[in-house]
Symmetry: C2
Subunit: 314 residues, 2 copies
């Protein structure tokens, strides 16, 4: 019996990744094209199919999975809106792709495909219940329950960034107040860092930014922390603590076997996870803490495309 | 083909309810005994079996499900600790019952059996994803995902009362701070009411309690609200608002089709759910709000015993 193969497509804001993946989540063949945000959706879709069908194993792939950032109707595969693809409004991606390729197509949002990717790449398909937290500009989550993607009643499950950890906290763009995203989202981390550094100058960061704190990024803060900069370490402590508070709630509610962190902010590594784990230990139920492994993904750049392919396998 | 029947046992602090239930969650026959908290666990178990086996349909029941408040190991059916049964420490309830009855026995905590009960009684087994929130002294939760009980990695999933809604809030007995239970748990509701009434006297409540505010219970507050008492209505508004804040987070994270509220505090009805729904609408994602029905259980006293029986059917 030949191995079953799946086609995964990850529609990012910069590149569209395309891969042929086997039933274990291993990439057999991969390619990518630049995301042409000014092109019409139909032109983009045709470019993707052209590139995908040039892959040696394309003909052997069964179903296709596609991950897209934004508001996706996972039932009918319509991309209602995507921040990465400003020209895409209510694009019937599933229907168009199925017509053009003759393959079954499943579309979902990128937080869900990342979770499936983490389940196969970081966790090797083993845990029953895994939660993947994407720490980027936005804070997203994907839920794997009983080894399957859990989408909820209207495909919006997993919005970890929009659970409130301080009901009197500042207003979030979603309408809620004190959402975890307003503490650990990349924009807020940079803003917190700017305010902190105005009060606690750091020679290292001043050198890295030419004292222009609007240039501060999570990468700069990570590099400074690696160099032993106390201000950077303290900023990550603050962010890690807030991450720990929200994950403690998630542990008490969902009691997962594993939490995988991915996305830009997660590159802070132990500077982030050290304070987060301390906070979790103080706040969450002991048995839930004991049962849950928390790791940073080792495959951030592959999660989306592998997850999309394995979505097609669900 | 004769209908499959299941035996449900709900080990409450006052009564132990016993029922024969069919595959639709309908009670065919029921009975109860007083909970003899001073008796040894073995004596209590034997009394339960004696009473259960006197039921006409007992011999026709296949598996037995048992719900117990407290810390239950749902894998091996050991009752590690139960606040309702102070003599019970590490009681091998499943093993003992199976030996004595020859039937397969499944044991779980009462928040989980309540959720299964709500799924069958209030929701008629229809929604894919249902969350049952028990609003009593403690605030518990049971999760039904894809029509099955979701227990998590170590049987502790669903602890809605211990998600923090204010990370700087007051210390909870669980070790966390600002847990939702410290706002909407019965003890805290009574405490809030006492403080509120010391500042805003209420003739109706003064009459009902003889001005002794330590006598305030959720029932008194409900009765006063029904009589139009503004203080009572305002107290419920505060509690409902806090319930709404935590449920908004639950909606954003778990995107359920239905939330069922049960337990003493839920008897406040619209005085509680009105403000809660207003808060949810302001805070949660629109599509999640639209997808989720929120109801108060119409079967609070039956949820445990029916849920226990249907646990045996899972």
């Amino acid at each position: 019996m030949s191995t079953q193969l799946y086609l995964g497509i990850d529609m990012g804001g910069t590149n569209i990744k395309i891969a042929v993946v086997n039933h274990k989540g291993e990439i057999i063949e991969e390619t990518s094209i630049k995301t042409e945000i000014k092109q019409s959706p139909m032109n983009v879709i045709q470019s993707v199919i052209k590139r995908a069908s040039a892959l040696k194993n394309y003909a052997k792939t069964k179903n296709t999975g596609i991950g897209v950032a934004g508001d996706i109707n996972c039932d009918n595969g319509v991309v209602r809106f995507s921040p990465n693809l400003p020209k895409w409004k209510n694009v019937k991606l599933k229907e168009i792709m199925e017509k053009l390729t003759g393959k079954k197509v499943i579309v979902d949002n990128d937080a869900n495909t990342a979770a499936i990717g983490a389940f196969w790449l970081d966790a090797k398909g083993k845990p029953d219940n895994l939660i993947c937290v994407t720490l980027g500009t936005g804070v997203g989550g994907g839920l794997i329950f009983n080894k399957k993607l859990y989408r909820g009643a209207s495909c919006t499950a997993g919005e970890i960034g929009h659970i409130t950890i301080d009901y009197n906290g500042r207003k979030c763009k979603c309408g809620n107040s004190g959402c975890s995203e307003t503490y650990i989202g990349a924009k807020y981390v940079s803003e917190y860092a700017k305010n902190y550094l105005n009060k606690h100058r750091s020679a290292i960061i001043d050198r890295m930014t030419g004292k222009n704190y609007s240039l501060i990024t999570p990468e700069i803060l990570h590099d400074a922390a690696v160099k032993g900069d106390n201000s950077a370490i303290e900023i990550w402590r603050y962010v890690g603590e807030k991450l720990g508070i929200i994950l403690a709630g998630v542990l008490n509610f969902a009691n997962p076997d594993m939490i995988i962190l991915c996305g830009g902010i997660s590159h802070a590594g132990k500077f982030l996870t050290g304070p987060a784990k301390k906070e979790i230990k103080e706040r969450a139920f002991k048995s839930a803490v004991k049962a849950c492994k928390i790791k940073i993904s080792r495959y951030t750049s592959k999660l989306g495309v592998v997850g999309a392919a394995m979505l097609a396998n669900q």
